[in-house]
């Protein structure tokens, strides 16, 4: 299978602190939904941040379509077609919903094309159209999550990385968020998902990756991972890791 994005032996950490990732690998298959699971502190979010250039890749390499992303700034990586939706949703609370969408297409310089895209997205997500002049900060948590995901679609990116999109959302909303993710996947966007709720995450994914001890331990089709007894014991709450 061809690799759209491939991280090999990534070592990264925050500031001058210790390395959180100690040689993590990740292979991304075009058009698939990938779910990264693992215990706390395994470095799941760290890996995503290292890929988009928010953290320095100390060792190893990240290659996208055969080209190294190492040392590029987040805005440069974005222009190559990789979007990242961080845990804290990263909206501009005092700008309106439409202005937020507009910011999503910041790297598009053609105004009429940008306006078209905003129109299309608003069609796809009526709630955003309905509230277009409202300040983003006044939206509910679920709507904010939808906005921040929809916003990435303006660019028609190749890859979207979602960091725990379900965090702090009501069960009903979680389902909606995953449905939005499926809409994105249907448009052909490759998705990398980090999810603490591993069962749910894997259920909506094609491919699973287990990150532990700062590196990648398992990697395989989501279904296989779900059924692997060791995974169940270690990461899905089947067995206690302390006496």
């Amino acid at each position: 299978m061809s690799k759209l994005l491939e991280a090999t032996g990534v070592v990264a950490g925050y500031g001058d602190g210790p390395a959180i990732l100690n040689g993590a690998d990740l292979s991304v298959h075009p058009g698939k939904v990938h779910c990264i699971i693992g215990p706390n502190g395994a470095g799941k979010s760290t890996l995503l941040k290292a890929i988009v250039g928010m953290l320095k890749v100390r060792e190893g390499d990240v290659r996208y379509k055969g080209e190294s992303l190492k040392g590029l700034r987040p805005d440069q990586i974005l222009r190559k077609g990789i979007c990242f939706v961080p845990q804290e949703r990263a909206l501009f609370p005092k700008m309106t919903v439409r202005e937020n969408l507009r910011m999503g297409g910041y790297s598009i310089t053609d105004d009429s094309y940008l306006n078209n895209r905003i129109g299309e997205i608003e069609e796809q997500f009526p709630i955003l159209k309905e509230r277009h002049s409202q300040h983003a900060g006044t939206l509910s948590g679920g709507q904010q999550q939808i906005l921040s995901m929809a916003r990435t679609m303006i660019l028609k990116p190749e890859i979207v990385m979602l960091d725990e999109p379900s965090l702090g959302l009501a069960p009903k909303i979680v389902r909606e968020v995953f449905e939005v993710m499926q809409i994105m996947a249907k448009e052909g966007i490759t998705i990398i998902l980090v999810e603490q709720n591993a069962l749910m995450g894997l259920k909506y994914s094609d491919w699973g990756v287990v990150l532990d001890l700062g590196r990648s331990l398992f990697d395989g089709p989501a279904q296989e991972i779900l059924e692997d007894p060791r995974i169940q014991e270690l990461y899905l709450g089947g067995r206690k890791d302390k006496p």
Binding site: G38, N40, A170, P171, K172, I173, N197, G237, R239
Partner: protein, 247 residues
């Protein structure tokens, strides 16, 4: 034990909490659930007085506490965690935790910052939560889940009578979550009262004795987990029985 009477909190024109009353009974685990924006966290903030309620009364152990400052409430045995966990950067996890140990009066002010007893106790708690390795780590270098655990550890340091947990399961991996659940239950058996806000319905169903459901600032249902789970209002507003896209 903890009684919230007709609590309201308005932000400008928005009624985040609207005339809301509920009780957390002594020695029980009460869960507060509801859709995002229902006002659960705001209610928490009002109880612990990190926000000033617009109106209403809050009683703890027969004492009205809504006029107190947060540290006075903590001193009366009510401790809380934060949804987005707050920690003291540039201080080690150990220091973060010991900060929460009780001080009383002026004499304590000049006592050593971290007595051996306190360190032992803090390490014990960290051991129990399985995060001893981060004891000397800078609080700001922790991952989301680790911060949650550190918050919980700090909470236990103060020997509270009642704890308010704001989404303790968010960002915590399932294995560890089981641990926390068991621990909370054990503490509860020793007489600790718990009020918990959580979206993880499995956890709520396993743990809680009573569930209060909030929506749009109001309490819409109140009862045992089973009752609540089958309440049509709750299904529609929260659990997603229908596919309507409103909150």
């Amino acid at each position: 034990m903890l009684e919230v009477k007709e609590l309201s909190k308005h932000f400008g024109g928005i009624k985040a909490v609207d005339n809301c009353s509920f009780v957390a009974e002594e020695g029980r685990i009460t869960a507060l659930i509801g859709p995002n924006g229902a006002g659960k966290t705001t209610a928490f903030n009002c109880i612990s007085r990190t926000m000033t309620p617009t109106s209403g009364e809050i009683w703890l152990d027969g004492e009205r506490i809504d006029q107190f400052r947060p540290h006075q409430i903590t001193a009366r045995g009510l401790s809380r965690t934060f949804q987005i966990s707050r920690n003291l950067a540039d201080m080690t996890v150990l220091e973060n935790i010991i900060c929460q140990s009780k001080t009383r009066g002026w004499k304590d002010l000049l006592k050593p910052a971290m007595s051996p007893d306190e360190i032992d106790k803090a390490i014990g708690i960290l051991d129990f939560l399985g995060i001893t390795r981060i004891a000397h780590e800078d609080g700001s270098n922790l991952s989301y889940g680790q911060k949650k655990l550190m918050d919980l550890a700090a909470l236990l340091m103060s020997d509270p009578k009642i704890i308010l947990l704001d989404e303790p399961a968010g960002g915590v991996n399932p294995t560890l979550l089981d641990e926390i659940v068991n621990h909370i239950r054990r503490l509860n058996e020793q007489g600790l009262t718990v009020l918990i806000v959580e979206h993880n319905m499995d956890l709520i169903m396993q743990l809680s004795d009573k569930v209060v459901v909030m929506a749009q600032g109001k309490v819409i249902a109140n009862g045992t987990p089973d009752e609540v789970q089958n309440n049509p209002d709750v299904l529609e507003a929260y659990l997603g029985g229908t596919s309507e896209n409103t909150e």
